[in-house]
C-alpha cells in the first residue's frame, strides 16, 4: 500500500440485473488513484468506465450491485471501505461532496432545470459546511468566479438553460469544488462540448489539481486527452483493466494488443494522408454473450488457444524494476509486443 494512494480499487466486480439476465459489467477491476495525480481510465463506449466511476461514489442504479472486491478511501484521518457502506447512508453521504466529488458528462441534464445554479451550489455548501445563509451565497458567487464564469453575481441567480455549454460545465465544477474535495471524478466531462471549450475545461481542471493538490479520476474515450492530461493511465476493455501504469509507460511502450491497436487507430495531426490508420477489426461482443476467456481474443492478432479458454491474469511488465511504478498488463503474450 503506497503512501501516496488516495483511492484503491481491488478486484472489483459489479453486476447489472435485468428481468431475464445478469450482466457482469466489471470483472476484477483494480487500480489506484494517487494523491494529486490524474488517473485516466480510457476505453470504448460500453466498456464499463462510467460504471467504475459510479461504483466509487456508490451511485449505481438500483439494478446494479457491487458483488465483490474492495474500494478503499485513504483519507487524512481515516481509511474507509466504501464497498461495505450502505448506499445513501450517513457515512457514504459524508464522503460524497466533501471528500470525493463527481462531475458528469452532460451538464444540461445533470443540473436540475427548475432550480437556479446558485441554489444548487449552495445546497452542496450547506450540506457539508456550517455556513450561514449569506456566507454560503458569497461562497457560491466566489466559486463561480474562480471557475471563470463571467458576471457571477448575476449568473448565480440564473437557471441552467440560460448558460452556455461550457459555462454549465464550469458551474458543475464549481459545485463539485465547493467543499474542496480530495478527489474529483470526472466522467467524460467534455464529450458534450466543443473542442475549444474542451481545452479550457481541462486547463481549469489542471489548475485546480495543482492549486488544491487534488487527485483526478478522468474517464474518457479520447486518447488525445489521455496524452495531454494523464499522469497515470488505465486501459479498459469489456469490464477489465487490460493495461495500467504511468502515462509514459503505457503510451510509449504499450504492452497489450488492445492498447497498441488503440494508439494505432488514432489519426495524428500533421502526418498527412499517408499515415496508416488501422481500425481494430471485429466489434465489441454482446455483453450477455461474452467470450469465455480473454474478452479481446476474437479481435486480437496475437491470440492463442490459451487466450480463448482463460482470462489472462495480471502480469507485471517491469517486475524487475523495483524503483518504478508497476506497469500491469493482462495478456499472456505481452512479451511478443514489447519485442516488436
Amino acid at each position: 500500500m503506497k503512501q501516496d494512494t488516495i483511492v484503491e480499487v481491488k478486484d472489483l466486480c459489479v453486476n447489472f440485473y435485468t428481468n431475464q439476465r445478469c450482466n457482469k459489467a466489471l470483472r476484477e477491476v483494480s487500480f489506484s488513484i494517487r494523491k494529486a495525480r490524474t488517473l485516466c481510465i480510457v476505453g470504448e463506449s460500453g466498456c464499463g468506465k462510467s460504471v467504475t466511476a459510479n461504483s466509487i461514489m456508490q451511485l449505481l442504479p438500483d439494478l446494479g450491485r457491487i458483488e465483490s472486491g474492495t474500494i478503499t478511501y485513504h483519507g487524512e484521518d481515516e481509511t474507509v471501505h466504501i464497498e461495505k457502506l450502505p448506499r445513501n447512508g450517513r457515512k457514504m453521504r459524508s464522503l460524497r461532496g466533501e471528500h470525493i466529488a463527481m462531475i458528469f458528462q452532460d451538464p444540461m441534464t445533470a443540473l436540475n432545470p427548475v432550480f437556479s445554479v446558485g441554489y444548487q451550489i449552495e445546497e452542496m455548501i450547506r450540506e457539508h459546511l456550517e455556513l450561514s445563509h449569506s456566507r454560503s451565497s458569497e461562497l457560491a458567487v466566489k466559486l463561480l468566479k474562480d471557475m471563470g464564469v463571467p458576471l457571477p453575481e448575476q449568473r448565480v441567480r440564473e437557471y441552467p438553460h440560460q448558460y452556455s455549454g461550457g459555462m454549465r460545465q464550469r458551474a458543475m465544477i464549481a459545485m463539485a469544488m465547493a467543499c474542496a474535495p480530495k478527489v474529483l471524478i470526472a466522467d467524460e466531462p467534455t464529450t458534450a462540448l466543443d473542442v475549444t471549450i474542451q481545452a479550457q475545461i481541462f486547463e481549469l481542471m489542471l489548475a485546480l489539481k495543482e492549486e488544491k493538490q487534488m487527485a483526478i479520476l478522468l474517464i474518457t474515450h479520447d486518447m488525445g486527452v489521455v496524452a495531454e492530461l494523464a499522469d497515470d493511465v488505465a486501459v479498459m476493455y469489456m469490464g477489465n483493466i487490460v493495461e495500467s501504469g504511468t502515462a509514459e509507460q503505457v503510451m510509449s511502450s504499450p504492452s497489450h494488443p488492445y492498447t497498441r491497436a488503440l494508439l494505432d487507430s488514432i489519426p495524428v495531426l500533421g502526418r498527412g494522408k499517408a499515415q496508416n490508420l488501422e481500425p481494430i477489426r471485429g466489434t465489441t461482443p454482446d455483453p450477455y454473450n461474452r467470450p469465455a476467456g480473454c474478452q479481446f481474443e476474437p479481435r486480437c492478432d496475437y491470440a492463442t488457444e490459451l487466450c480463448r479458454r482463460q482470462m489472462p491474469t495480471e502480469e507485471s511488465v517491469n517486475a524487475s524494476d523495483r524503483e518504478e511504478k508497476p506497469h500491469m498488463v493482462r495478456c499472456f503474450n505481452y512479451k511478443e509486443l514489447t519485442h516488436v
Binding site: 440485473y17 431475464q20 439476465r21 445478469c22 458483488e67 454473450n289
Partner: protein, 295 residues
C-alpha cells in the same frame, strides 16, 4: 438478484428468441386475467339466447320485484322482466356502442391525424383548432345537446359518440406522426418523390399502430361508461332497448335503490368488471408495445 446470478453462472440463461411483445404480453398476469374476463362477458352476451330462456322485454306483472331465486337468477325488475336476461342482452348493445364508437372515432381521427400530422399546413392548423374547441366542451354536455337536437336512438348515439370522440384520437395520432416524420427514412422517401398520401398512410402509420390500438381499447371502455351515465340520466339509448345503462336508470328511484338491490347492483358490477378487464388489456398492450420499458 442472487437467484439470477446463480442461474447465469450455470449458463442456464439465454437471450430469448421469442418476439418480445408476445413474451411481455403473455407474462402480464393482469392482461391475461382481463382478456379472460372480457371474453367471458362477451361470449355470454352473444350467446344470450342459449343461456337464458327468458325474453329481455317480457313483462310479468305477477312477479314484479322478486329477489334472486330459482326461477329468476338475479330477480326481476319493477315490471317483472328477468334481470339476468336483460344484463346478457343489454351487454350486446352496450359493447356494440362502446366498440363501434371507438372504431368509428378512430377511423376519422386517425385518418385526419395521419395526413394532417404529416403535411402540416392549413389543414392541420384548422383541424387542430377545431379539435381544441371540441375538447373544451365537457363531454356529457356536448353529447346531451346533440342528443336533444338529433333525437334519442341507438344509431344517433353512436354517431354522436364518434363525433365527440374523434378529436382525441386525432391529437394522439398527430403527435405520433410529428415525431415519426422527423426520422430520416421519411426524408429519403420525400427525396424519391413519393406522394404525401403514400408516405403518411403506407409508411408512417404502421409505426404508430401500437398506441392507436391501445387507444381504441381504452376508448371502448370510456364510451361504455359514458353510455351508462347517459342512459342512467335517461338521455342515452331509448329505454325500451335494454342496455347496461338503461337497466341502471331505475336506480334513480330511492325506493328501488334501497330495497331492491338486485335490480341495479349486479349490472353495476358487470359494467365495472368489463371496463376493468378492457383497461387491463389496454395497459398490457401498452406495456408490451412500449420500447422504452426494460425487458
Amino acid at each position: 438478484m442472487d437467484r439470477l446470478l446463480t442461474l447465469e453462472n450455470q449458463g442456464k440463461l439465454k437471450t430469448s428468441t421469442m418476439n418480445r411483445s408476445v413474451r411481455k404480453l403473455s407474462a402480464n398476469m393482469l392482461a391475461l386475467v382481463g382478456l379472460a374476463l372480457f371474453l367471458l362477458i362477451l361470449t355470454a352476451s352473444i350467446a344470450a339466447p342459449l343461456i337464458s330462456s327468458y325474453e329481455p322485454n317480457a313483462i310479468d306483472l305477477k312477479h314484479r320485484l322478486s329477489p334472486p331465486g330459482e326461477t329468476h337468477l338475479l330477480g326481476t325488475d319493477q315490471i317483472g322482466r328477468d334481470i339476468f336476461t336483460r344484463i346478457l342482452y343489454g351487454g350486446r348493445i352496450s359493447m356494440f356502442v362502446g366498440l363501434g364508437s371507438a372504431i368509428g372515432a378512430a377511423l376519422i381521427g386517425v385518418s385526419l391525424g395521419t395526413y394532417a400530422g404529416y403535411t402540416r399546413g392549413v389543414l392541420d392548423s384548422a383541424v387542430m383548432k377545431l379539435s381544441e374547441i371540441m375538447m373544451s366542451f365537457p363531454q356529457i354536455i356536448l353529447v346531451s345537446i346533440l342528443v336533444t337536437i338529433a333525437g334519442q336512438s341507438l344509431w344517433n348515439l353512436i354517431l354522436i359518440f364518434i363525433l365527440t370522440g374523434w378529436p382525441s384520437m386525432y391529437r394522439m395520432t398527430r403527435s405520433q406522426m410529428l415525431s415519426i416524420r422527423e426520422q430520416e427514412y421519411i426524408q429519403a422517401l420525400q427525396a424519391f418523390g413519393i406522394g404525401s398520401f403514400t408516405i403518411s398512410f403506407k409508411h408512417m402509420l404502421p409505426n404508430a399502430i401500437g398506441p392507436i390500438f391501445v387507444n381504441i381499447t381504452l376508448s371502448t371502455a370510456m364510451f361504455i361508461l359514458q353510455e351508462a351515465a347517459l342512459s342512467f340520466l335517461g338521455l342515452g339509448v331509448p329505454l325500451e332497448q335494454a342496455t347496461w345503462g338503461n337497466i341502471l336508470n331505475v336506480a334513480q328511484d330511492l325506493n328501488i335503490l334501497r330495497n331492491a338491490w338486485w335490480v341495479w347492483l349486479p349490472v353495476g358490477v358487470v359494467i365495472t368488471l368489463f371496463v376493468m378487464s378492457v383497461n387491463f388489456i389496454g395497459d398490457g398492450l401498452r406495456d408490451a408495445a412500449d420500447p422504452t420499458q426494460v425487458g
